[in-house]
Amino acid sequence: MHFNFREKLNSRKFLVTVEVSPPKGTRFSAPVEDVSQLKGVADALNVTDNQCSIMHMSSLAFSKLLLDQGHEPVMQLTCRDRNRIGLQSDLLGAYALGIRNICLMTGDYPTCGDHPGSKPVYDLDSVQLIELVRKLDSGIDLAGKKLDGGTSFCAGAVSGIDPENTMQLIKLEKKVRCGAEFIQTQAVYDVGMFEEFMEAVNHLEVPIIAGLIPLKSLVMAEYMNKNISGIHVPEETMLRMKDAVSPIEEGLSIASETIKELIKLSRGIHIMPIGSHKNTPKLLSMAGISEK
């Protein structure tokens, strides 16, 4: 098998990553089958880590299942559920099982999900977690102990895209200084806003992969505008969704037009489809992105 996400990051190739979700249970054949539609379409698959604080199979286990099917996973890892011992332990395990790409983030608070009373950990934050991975890469753990075999992760992180949010931009800068090799962003709906964001972080030498969530309805667009940090669905897009005969088709058209703009601005796109992947290959073909 050829693992080449890091090589692709360092090339000029326009990248496509797609978010996939582990099952909520032990039956994995249906989700693995669903993900199989992405073969030859995506460069790598981000495997979510109990996304929205909703308990699922571990990202490590599902990443390994996808690896066995010939996919290239990007294992997501959050600070919410593990202390520094658990994080290091899972990172070593993931590396030993062949997982080479990771995406590190803080993680939604437990009250957002289906176990709202669980104790949140946040022993490290996302900046410290990136630093930790770079320590493991150098062959030592966070306590300074030598490892019997270190790691060599291709490690990335996430960012919002609001150019006005100075604190977010400073945090992104810290992530890059600590060794983030790629950044996947919050969903882009307002290309103008994303362009300003890219200008604001122009001094950071890191590939930025723009997030994308195809709209499915006007209600979804309204919800995102109101509740998701840094997401701005422009009025014109809202009107298109409102007038659409088929909102899902319209959402795909809007997303494909956005991708065409993003090709000029970012190193790639990160598609978060929410649910099945049946429309992802179609979306990419609408955007004129050829098969991998």
């Binding site: 803080t106 957002c112 949140p120 934050d125 996430v158 604190m167």
Partner: protein
């Protein structure tokens, strides 16, 4: 100041269901300020317990429930404590613990202990400090993200705040916005670029 809130009276009654001859210990410091254990609240508690068929043998309001000298010092203030078969402390968890070290009777607390806080201009400030034992508040202009950010993030905000309001509680300002404003005011925005190491929890 320790921030407490009163447990619902029904919960207190349920705690005391197998108890009688109750002696009530208030706290004239934090709990009095927060109206969860000062004299009016102690008197109200005694009245409601009596109304519910319980016998209250007496009460006392020490300066601070968390700094009790001895059983005798309590008995000096109200010797009825000698007739008690259980104690209800209207203070914080620390007050309950301190009283339990000098009284050999079943002991109950009437409050929930929420956080370490204070007041400013009459406004209640909760979650000002988590007493982590590794204080770095000076690096944030005097606002502690460890206590005021639900995720205790040390290097900047999470991606969850919307319009400056916290992901976990949309009614509460994101402390990172407050830290930013504060550092801007004192001309120390440079502090935002410092990469902070993980806390040393094990040494508390």
């Amino acid at each position: 100041m320790i921030i407490t809130s009163a447990k619902p009276f029904e919960e207190i009654l349920s705690l005391l269901k197998d108890e009688d001859d109750i002696f009530v210990v208030g706290c004239n410091v934090c709990a009095a300020k927060l109206k969860t254990g000062g004299e009016p609240e102690v008197l109200e508690m005694c009245r409601r317990l009596e109304e519910s068929g319980k016998h209250v043998v007496g009460w006392v309001l020490p300066t601070a429930a968390c700094s009790i000298r001895s059983f005798e010092s309590l008995a000096e203030k109200n010797e009825k404590i000698k007739d008690a078969r259980c104690i209800l402390v209207m203070g914080c968890g620390s007050g309950v613990s301190a009283v339990s070290t000098v009284v050999d009777l079943p002991i109950y607390g009437s409050n929930n202990t929420l956080s370490l806080g204070g007041t400013s201009g009459g406004e209640l400030l909760s979650n000002q400090c988590v007493m982590c034992g590794d204080c770095t508040i000076n690096e944030y202009g005097g606002l502690c993200p460890k206590s005021q950010c639900p995720k205790a993030l040390l290097n900047g905000p999470c991606g969850g705040a919307v319009d400056g309001m916290c992901e976990v509680n949309r009614e509460k300002d994101c402390v990172w916005d407050l830290i930013y404003e504060r550092l801007k005011k004192i001309d120390r925005l440079d502090l935002l670029y410092v990469i902070h190491a993980p806390k040393e929890h094990g040494f508390k």
